[in-house]
Amino acid sequence: MTASATAAAAPRSRRPGALVLTVFRREIRQYFQTPGTYVALAFFLLLSGAFFVLIVGQFVEDSARALAAATPSENAAALNVTQQVVTQLFQVLNFLLLVVAPMLTMRLIAEEKRSGTFEMLVSTPLGNWDILIGKYLAALAVCAALLAVCVAYPIVCATYSRPEWPVVWSCYLGLALIVAAYAAFGLFASALTESQIAAAVISFVGLLVFQMIGYLFKAGTLGLAAGALSIGSHSDNFTQGLVSLSDVVYFVVFSIFFLFLAAQILDSRRWRA
């Protein structure tokens, strides 16, 4: 057989998505093997637990004071566990995820580039999207585990009070969408560099900016644009029990956009000088 006349038969993968699953499984195993995962988990659980205790303690104190002194209408406000505990906890968890998500995603691509396994990985039949989606889903799985643990907090609340469950669930949905966006941005940052630390810093700072721009620019069209782009202004509604389509779309588009950018970066070595 001459090389140029007949191209050698190339074996094909059987099922679509099988390669994504291959990458996903390896990354999940890698998460279990990486000490950084446990550091991030411990950080998240300890701090979120501590904040929960603080918030609940404050709520109990406030309620007791209100019960002793004030009029019935003020009582009602002070005793609103949803407002006082659930939404505050949402803000705390949101911020903790902003720190933890970069810790969980920093390794994904940067470390492979540094160690050289990236070159091995991209010379296999895996496509860029197999690699990215597999890694992204693995990061999401770990984040989902974190959020699952957080179910404990509203359950504890529910044992001695009656939180508004719709608000709890909308907060949950909000956190899930937020963490999906954080992970996509973190994966993008990890594709930018060979240094895990740099990737973590880029994603933390970048996400912080996306959180804040809504509050930094308030006036005029700039304010409008900043508000439209800001993570912060799109997460407030969830704490009110409101799930608006525009917020959901914002987070979905945000995630896809940064996954897409990450894919472009993986591809860039083909066109960059």
């Binding site: 057989m1 090389a3 140029s4 006349a5 007949t6 191209a7 050698a8 190339a10 074996p11 094909r12 993968s13 059987r14 099988a18 390669l19 291959t22 390896r26 195993r29 890698q30 093997q33 990486t34 160690s115 050289g116 396994t117 070159e119 091995m120 990985l121 991209v122 010379s123 296999t124 039949p125 895996l126 496509g127 070595r269 083909r270 066109w271 000088a273």
Partner: protein
């Protein structure tokens, strides 16, 4: 099976590969030999589709590496330079992962992994973590990753660098065994590796092909000179001048010239200094008599003279030195 045509790759102002062409027929093993920085890794990265060429083209198994990278990746196994591995995985898990990326599953996957581990002599460490293994085993695991699933083409970038001599011999044996059923291109900066393992050798230096053919072939075509070794008593400067003026002499070099300088030896040269000189003589010229006459005629003492054939090693060094003259200094 592998065809490289007029390939050029530049990084900014650096020309990493400069218009190289070569072919590897199916079932052959090609040694890609060159000093560090010659452009070996760059060429291999182009072959795997990792980086595109600036000019020229390359194909593997009939597929163009730029236009059909996915097809190329389905038929190659690639061992990158420095044999990177996932340290947190077991050898079996590592090889299994790459088998999965090649579309294997279930019993076929287990069989392929078993075969690759067997071929690379890894059964004894199959369930150990890669980070706890020696460099030699990690290198083999990286090789097993390339081999698993029986790709038609193996691209191996410096597969023996950083190994001890015993490991090197084992890996070479492995590669020779693999080449029986596959097309292999392996890069190395060590000459014996190419001449011992490969049926054909391409020598590159500074991004250009300077020689290619079978090891024996290269040896004879490149042997444009003979080498004489002379032991002469006299002032070294004078000896060098006299020898250089003899017709057909290409180059004269005093053995240990740089050593004397570097170590700052106090003993000054005198007319009684005895030194050894390497003289490169044009091919097909026997000038032993002329050399002897010149030395004696200049009032110097010729103590010894012998003719030394050039080894492939010398050819290699001379070839790449001529290309990079001014960069490398004698010594």
């Amino acid at each position: 099976m592998i065809e490289v045509r007029n390939l050029t790759k530049t990084y900014g102002d650096t020309v990493a590969v400069h218009g190289i062409s070569f072919r590897v027929p199916e079932g052959r093993i090609l040694g890609f030999l060159g000093p560090n920085g010659a452009g070996k890794t760059t060429t291999m990265r182009i072959l795997t589709g990792y980086t595109p060429p600036t000019r020229g083209s390359a194909s593997v198994g009939g597929y163009d590496v730029v236009r059909q990278p996915r097809q190329v990746r389905r038929i190659i196994g690639y061992l990158p330079e420095n044999a990177p591995v996932y340290g947190e995985m077991t050898v079996r898990g590592f090889v299994g992962f790459f088998a999965e990326t090649k579309g294997l599953a279930g019993a076929a996957l287990r069989r392929a992994v078993g075969q690759a581990l067997d071929e690379c002599g890894l059964e004894s460490v199959a369930d150990r973590l890669l980070m706890n293994l020696s460099k030699g085993f990690r290198q083999r695991a990286a090789l097993a990753q390339a081999v698993v699933g029986d790709p038609k083409v193996l691209i191996l970038d410096e597969p023996t660098v950083g190994l001890d001599p015993v490991q090197i011999r084992e890996i070479r044996g492995l590669i020779r065994g693999m080449a029986e059923r596959r097309t292999v291109i392996l890069s190395t900066h060590i000459l014996p590796e190419a001449s011992l393992t490969c049926s054909r050798v391409v020598i590159i230096a500074r991004g250009r092909v300077v020689a290619s053919g079978t090891p024996e072939n290269i040896h004879s075509t490149l042997q444009e000179s003979n080498r004489m070794t002379l032991l002469v008593r006299g002032l070294p400067d004078k000896v060098e001048k006299v020898l250089t003026e003899v017709p057909h002499v290409q180059k004269v070099r005093r053995e240990g010239a740089s050593r004397t300088h570097e170590e700052g030896m106090e003993k000054p040269f005198t007319p009684r200094t005895i030194e050894e000189y390497q003289v490169r003589v044009e091919k097909d010229h026997d000038i032993r008599a002329e050399l002897a006459a010149a030395v004696v005629g200049a009032g110097l003492d010729l103590l010894e003279m012998r003719s030394v054939g050039l080894s492939l090693e010398d050819v290699f060094v001379h070839t790449i030195t001529d290309e990079t003259e001014g960069v490398r200094h004698d010594g």
